[in-house]
Subunit: 274 residues, 3 copies
């Protein structure tokens, strides 16, 4: 049976270089999270070097949290370079429902073959709708925070996985991972996590690190989510609010032992409904 | 009588979406501060979506801390979109006295109708002088940190409020808020606050959140400053330096109860002198 | 004899304005570190104002961690403006070995006369090789983290110091400073330091602050490294992992007294070997 600790051990042993083209809010947190889990972060967004960096790295993550034309161009080049090099990459379609610019950007990036797509329920629903040309705007999503519960995104996640070929991770109070056939539900995590900015974006980097250490997309994503959520639970035990939570979270990510991870992961598996 | 807690309660209940076009140094702190007070932060700076985001949000904040031509264009479009949508917006003229580029940028933005302008004493004096075409350079301001005490900015704040129609907030060891007719002085805060980067910029976001939760510009700004300063005092009681202060500050912003806020706010009111 | 505390005292007394054109990951940490040591940070990257800011400041630091064409142009203009004003500036060639874009950028900046160049061993080896047209790619450096021990960089540091006229600082488990004739080895520091992102980049800012407070390039760099490393040691005594370490580090930077600094600095001096 696949245990999350096996993938975590590989990350800690391999220290994979993860190239991230992410948003301005998340960069520092993402870098600190990657260092805390034992990976090696790199950020590079210029068209002149994005492809070269992506080919050098063990994994690439792309996050459209603060997009601009130049950065989107570099994201596309980096994704294609990763594909050519056989390097796995993860797409994080932040606030894809908010503007036409993001919808177009996310649709284009999703078509380039990400190994994993991670978003909150509202983002996964919106991205799937954008690709399927549905009118997702009627759902009322407003910004970057999820307004839909995870379970509402199951059908969208399944369809998105089948359309794009990516493993789709819906993260929230509970997490759902779907490869189009199978579903895993992860019931780790803590309500303080969304009270700290960029922890979702940093999770995208963690998934990248797991893939970069040769985890399989579905199993590796499940392992990353269980590890991340459990670290959140442990950090919350010592926290007095979102500030101290963020500090403890990095400490716990670094220190969490593999036996505890396997014992306290709350993962269940089933098949897709349709 | 207006109590700060009434406005804070509205922020916590409404969780207003605050769109920020701010500087690179402040983005993460601003997002964490907004999450800690119960608001929902969003950052978006591309011309292709800035106006759309501003119209979607409950409030907009614009901060010229790390300006560039492209970003200034987006700031202008966002401000105009906010005006069209009736969305309040706040201007933070960081280091406006330092360069010709900033003077020009701040003057143009100030002319677009911000509901509130917040800066330290040196910035408010410089912005008023720029608008009045005075030679503010002789005052010797050099960077982003205030070199003038708050009370020296009173005349400038009053004139700036009357010229622009904005409520003007001068923050420092004591804070001054002026709408052109009335003045409030807030004597909360702690000397560790300016030892942590971006706490001034993040305060601009907090004012945005208060306006976004339907606070009146003058009363809401006063309430935001009292709340923020009191949180600084409480955080300092537990801090051993600027690092731990920043952590406790987020915890306190999140936990501070409304009774304490009203009891320990140090606000006094008077009319303008001229 | 030169003591590190003499330079630290000058920083704390003068509060030098340090202008930084640095990477997106490091900006907040660099600003907080500079505030903690008693300096005044400013960030400005637009071509329209970079030179004006550099001339205004007591020191300039340039870091190519997340480079782009526009920013590199501004870096060049700022460096030249600093030179014209006699303002010392520090170059941080982040991940210079990773891509052709960075190699070209770092070579050009190194030719503009930095007073100090700071990097990890892999970066100093790569930068020297780039300037000497050696094939440094065969060394296998991959990203931003050092893969070479400090002592392997001694010859490169010496050659780089002689070619560029800069003092070269190689930081890592032990630090080496070389002006082309003399070498200082600093044995302060702690293994948690590279587990927090941007602490190397922030150290570049600290060197800038020391130069900005009129420290001599060689002695000031040595003093800055000893102070920074010792603060890391003290912070680690209270840390439970990289998250809490980063918090304590800022507290210690702020609080570290000058007597302790001189007593616990581990600095040795010798001549260059060749």
């Amino acid at each position: 049976m696949h245990t999350p600790s096996a993938d975590l051990a590989r990350v800690r042993a391999a220290a994979p270089l993860v190239h991230n083209i992410t948003n301005f809010v998340a960069m520092q947190t993402l870098a600190n999270v990657l260092l805390a889990i034992g990976a090696s972060p790199a950020m590079a967004h210029a068209r002149e070097e994005a492809a070269e960096f992506a080919a050098l790295a063990s994994a690439l993550t792309i996050n459209i949290g603060t997009p601009s034309i130049d950065w989107l161009d570099a994201m596309g080049e980096a994704a294609r370079a990763a594909n050519r090099a056989g390097t796995p990459w993860v797409l994080d379609p932040v606030a894809v429902g908010a503007t036409a610019f993001r919808r177009q950007a996310a649709r284009r990036l999703a078509s380039l073959g990400p190994r994993v797509i991670r978003g909150n329920a509202s983002e996964i629903i919106a991205l799937n709708a954008v690709i399927e040309d549905q009118d997702f705007l009627s759902r009322g999503g407003k910004g970057v925070d999820a307004t839909d519960p995870t379970e509402h995104a199951e059908a969208a996640a399944q369809q998105l996985a089948r359309t794009t070929g990516a493993v789709v991770a819906v993260t929230g109070p509970s997490d759902l991972v779907c490869d189009g056939e199978h579903i895993a539900i992860i019931n780790n995590g803590h309500p303080l996590m969304p009270r700290v900015t960029a922890l979702g974006c940093a999770l995208t980097g963690v998934i990248g690190a797991f893939l970069g250490a040769s985890a399989k997309p579905f199993e590796g994503t499940v392992a990353a989510l269980a590890y991340y959520g459990l670290a959140g639970q442990k950090a919350a035990e010592q926290a007095q609010g979102p500030g101290s939570f963020a500090v403890h979270f990095l400490d716990v990510l670094s220190a969490l032992d593999e036996t505890t991870l396997d014992r306290e992961s709350r993962i269940s598996h089933r098949s897709c409904k349709h």
